[in-house]
Symmetry: C2
Subunit: 299 residues, 2 copies
């Protein structure tokens, strides 16, 4: 049903995780003991999560010369994510090279790459859009035109200025963020957490294993997390948003949407990678029933 | 013509060259200013060079889980290189991540990856084979069964033991190596350069911009290099071998083959990358005529 389309704007990224014994000195080389490649980028993770749950998602992202014919392109097609892409031949896709040594240290080489296109890209008018971590000014242009907009600042929160945030908060319907992002945004705006919550119609604050809190009309509803064996927290937030948005678009009440987000997220953390263990609707529904009782549109 | 097939054994490798301002401290990240991906691996470079020159080449290499459906696979198909591959799902293709900073420093993260398969791979019996840089024991098994074999130790020369080298020299028809490799091999064997040259029917010693020397039956014939504007020396040796082998398989006399190698090599150094500026036979023939006079099978 095209009227249920969820557009998601932000990053598509290739994540390379390399394991080495120790970092090489200048002018030398070292052996890579293991390397894993993952499909990443917050917006892509969310769009994939929605599609896996049976929702209709469209990814609006920037891609580089290494995208056409790539396995990432085939992956999105296979999962059924529609795409509206800004493409360039002069850059690669955004790519993160994370290098871990045996002592638990990490260094990251981050290639912004095609992500630069957001700076000049024309923002389309959208019916229902989630703005994931991405370019601040582009997201402002998206939010101004959107009929219904949700927003998470994600890891790019540090690149948002106070006027970006104020402009976004004036346009969006739901803000989704974690404690760390709340802190940074409050600091930039000179606000308290209560000011932030009061600035938007709905605010959902995620707190990792402590669940999430839905703030609406002055009420705060605590949503517990689903207790599972945590293997890798990467992608937990994106899976939460995928569950929440899919459910919201299907007409579920917001507190139920948050629980569906929590259940979806619990799958993501059970395996390494962000798009590797996302549930379909039936799998989500089964685990939902175990933790929250039979799934109903309202409760 | 299948009877003119040239098999090439050794590495297929993905080369990633990253440029950064300065190396990140532990626990931090830095921006990648530019990244270029190149098709590499000595054996793959040579097989591609032969195919570009109109020869018939077959690449015998190890590949990982990232090979099927990759652009490298399409690249080899498009150029017309036949492949006989050892494949694994538990490793990636051999991959080199070279990270250059603004002060001209380089560090390399090298992933041997699928290259490990050579250790247990069954070596096929071949009519005409070039052994490029690769696993020492595997190359010994190849050389023992080959009807006609040529060998270059390349960057893996440090992994060859004296008995590997002695066994290879007893089986091969042509040795091709540079000054650095001669030094390492002589040290391992306790030999002089003359001993090395006397141990094989034909030895071709390449000397970069100073050309190459063909040693055969006690004679030494100097072959000048083609003077061109050098942009990137990477791949020069592989292009030389591609030209030499293609010409030899077509029945050209060895001194002419060496000149064809020199001409082919001169194209490779004019552009960055190893497989990026290889000539077809006509282009090679034109430049040959400019430097060495009209191309003839004997001279």
């Amino acid at each position: 049903m095209p009227d249920q389309l969820i557009s998601v704007t932000g990053h598509l990224c290739n994540d390379y995780i390399l394991s080495i014994a120790e970092y090489p000195k200048l002018g030398t080389s070292c052996r890579v003991l293991d390397r894993r490649n993952y499909y990443g980028g917050g917006a892509a993770n969310i769009a994939v999560g929605i599609a896996k749950l049976g929702g209709s998602s469209e990814l609006i992202a920037a891609v580089g010369r290494d995208y056409p014919g790539s396995s990432y392109e085939r992956h999105l097609k296979e999962i059924g994510v529609a795409t509206r892409l800004f493409a360039t031949d002069s850059q690669n896709c955004s790519t993160a090279f994370m290098v871990n040594d045996c002592d638990g240290n990490q260094i990251t080489y981050f290639e912004w790459g095609a992500g630069e296109l957001f700076g000049t890209a024309v923002a389309p008018a959208l019916s229902f859009v989630h703005m994931a971590t991405g370019d601040a000014a582009f997201n402002v242009r998206i939010a101004e035109q959107a009929e219904f907009a949700t927003f998470d600042p994600g890891q790019d929160v540090k690149y948002y200025e106070a006027d970006h945030l104020e402009s976004l908060f004036a346009s969006i319907d739901i803000l989704i963020c974690n404690n760390f992002e709340v802190e940074i945004m409050c600091e930039k705006l000179g606000w308290t957490e209560s000011d932030l919550i009061a600035a938007v119609p709905t605010a959902i604050l995620t707190k990792g294993k402590d669940g999430s809190v839905l703030h609406r009309n002055g009420d705060a509803i605590a949503i517990p997390a689903c207790p599972v064996t945590l293997v890798d927290p990467t992608g937990a937030g994106d899976a939460y948003r995928a569950g929440l948005l899919t459910a919201y678009r299907k007409g579920f009440a917001l507190p139920v949407c948050c629980k569906i987000g929590a259940v979806t997220s619990s799958f993501a953390v059970e395996k390494v990678g962000t798009q590797t263990n996302l549930p379909d609707w039936t799998e989500m529904e089964q685990r939902y029933a175990e933790h929250f009782g039979t799934l109903k549109k309202n409760e």
